[in-house]
Symmetry: C2
Subunit: 339 residues, 2 copies
């Protein structure tokens, strides 16, 4: 009884759907994981040491799973989805390595960031290696159009990260600027992961567009929730430190909305903590109190819910199938992480 | 008279051949330069600011010129060489941006390194952007085989850089280790630049292999000379600081050979300076004196000459042409930089 109640609760918050998606994609994800480990190899010992440290910490492999699920959805997968999925995960991991250097982060996936063990230098270079390997795997799949999607993605992600960096501690940052940053740095890779999966699965132009839209909206919801969790989460559960965005001066939506609505005294508290690497728990909780007073975390989650709806609507034109239902159901999971 | 004597001297050291190659490739290089500036653009202001600062400092554009010259050599250029040449230069510039972060360099191409103005963070991210743009340009050229050559190159360069980093200050580094590093980090890009140029020029398998070998040997000679200049050059002429390799603890051939041949007192002097960021002019000149005593700079140049010969021999099987003579003649220039 208790376990069926737990299952029902699981189902209600989307975790049940995620479990079912994990099961459905498992055989192909095992091939993806084997390819990932193989291609992280190198005769230069430090490369696989560092790469495997990061890769084996795991993360949820959401992006490659999206590629595999998208290919399965269209049912005529040609095998390229394995390479694309591994390439997408390598691109993601390359970004994480470079991000941790850029953000001077100490923690990643609940463990010390690779740069704390091997140094910034190795993190930059192994990131470059993973990006090169990602492109090799895409080339081996042989579809120049999919290569175009993924290479454009690499450039847009970097552009978004530079924009975010340029806006750090910029009190004039608008919600539109923020939207532009998260579309580029996060949503583009989710979008590409779903789109190339659809391509490998034999989707027609409409199917490809549907998955592209689905991936993008899912990515936007994901990042919005992530930016809420940074103020609400606990370090253990997130795998990184709560308050990192505040300390790095990142202008995420919760802080942009808080600055817009706050009185002079509140603004002063936020500005004093923003970008202070040594901002302590008291400073963080004062900022969170201001956010709660103006409901900026709640409003950020409302926007995430809007993108969840758009993700589901993107799938609507596609014929009914078990995989379509799964993809539609798992979007809840991303938002429910925040509760 | 004086000017014809100067011209003859120029010719003897290879600079005349370089001038002739510059003239021969100029029309296509103007298209390459226009494409480079266009593709360094972005709505995120910091991207073109930083990219153009680096790109307009110029350097000699040796690698893209090699691509253009290789395409011209085979005479049936299909236009892809313009994209490949710009992509090769972007890959090179991305590597420079990341290298300067890794090496903590202050100077590049005679000006403060980009990281000194925009910071390490922007240098890492704009490097990533340039790499993404490089792949996009290759994709637009549409040849999956050439894409394979260049994507493999990106992975190998990064691997070589990690190996170099792992060997920093490692007194047991062998000449073979060094050979492995410079093949990966330098020669691979020269090789790829020449090979994809040949492909765009319509070369057959033998022609492609000849240019691949030519590019690789030229790249090896280039790096060997660079590593001599680091101990012999003047900061102004090199565009970077003399002695940087010593201060960074880079195990280049001049220092590997010096350690192998030195007596205990000499070894002690080298080891004391190696990897010391604040090693001064006195320490540097003591190390150079030891190198001169054991002729390690001369022996490194001898090896460079060997690769120059191999580069020329690689071209031998190709039919005679004005471009073949030029490519054969310019290799001298690279080595004569050191005198």
């Amino acid at each position: 009884m208790a376990s069926s109640a737990a299952a029902a609760a699981n189902e209600a918050n989307g975790a049940g759907a995620l479990d079912r998606l994990l099961t459905a994609t498992q055989p192909e994800m095992e091939r993806v994981n084997a390819l990932i480990l193989m291609r992280a190899n190198s005769h230069v010992e430090m490369v696989p040491e560092l790469a495997r440290y990061l890769i084996e910490a795991g993360g949820k492999r959401l992006r490659p799973m999206l590629t595999i699920a998208a290919a399965m959805l269209f049912g005529r997968a040609n095998g390229a989805q394995i390479n694309y999925a591994a390439a997408v995960e390598f691109m993601h991991n390359a970004t994480l390595l470079h991000d941790d250097v850029v953000d001077e982060s100490d923690l990643r996936r609940g463990r010390p960031a690779a740069r704390m063990i091997w140094g910034n230098q190795a993190s930059v270079l192994v990131g470059d290696f993973l990006l090169g390997q990602a492109f090799m795997m895409m080339v081996e799949a042989g579809d120049i159009e999919a290569l175009g999607v993924l290479s454009k993605t690499a450039a847009i992600i970097a552009e978004g990260e530079v924009f975010q960096l340029a806006k750090a501690r910029d009190l004039k940052t608008t919600p539109d600027d923020y939207d532009q940053v998260i579309r580029a740095k996060t949503a583009t890779l989710f979008q590409a992961a779903a789109e190339v999966g659809a391509m490998a699965g034999g989707a027609d132009a409409a199917g490809r567009a549907a998955l592209r839209d689905y991936g993008r909206e899912l990515g936007l919801a994901f990042q919005l929730v992530d930016d809420v969790l940074d103020y609400r989460g606990e370090s253990g559960a997130m795998g990184k430190n709560a308050g990192d965005d505040l300390r790095e001066g990142k202008m995420t939506l919760p802080v942009i909305l808080a600055l817009a609505d706050s009185n002079p005294a509140e603004s002063e508290i936020i500005v004093a903590a923003l970008g202070q690497a040594d901002a302590n728990e008291t400073a963080l909780s004062q900022v969170v109190a201001i956010m709660n007073r103006h409901n900026t975390l709640g409003r950020t989650l409302d926007l995430a819910h809007r993108h969840v709806r758009l993700a589901r609507e993107a799938l609507a034109p596609l014929p009914a199938s078990a995989m379509k239902t799964l993809l539609s159901d798992i979007v809840e999971f991303y938002v429910n992480r925040a509760y």
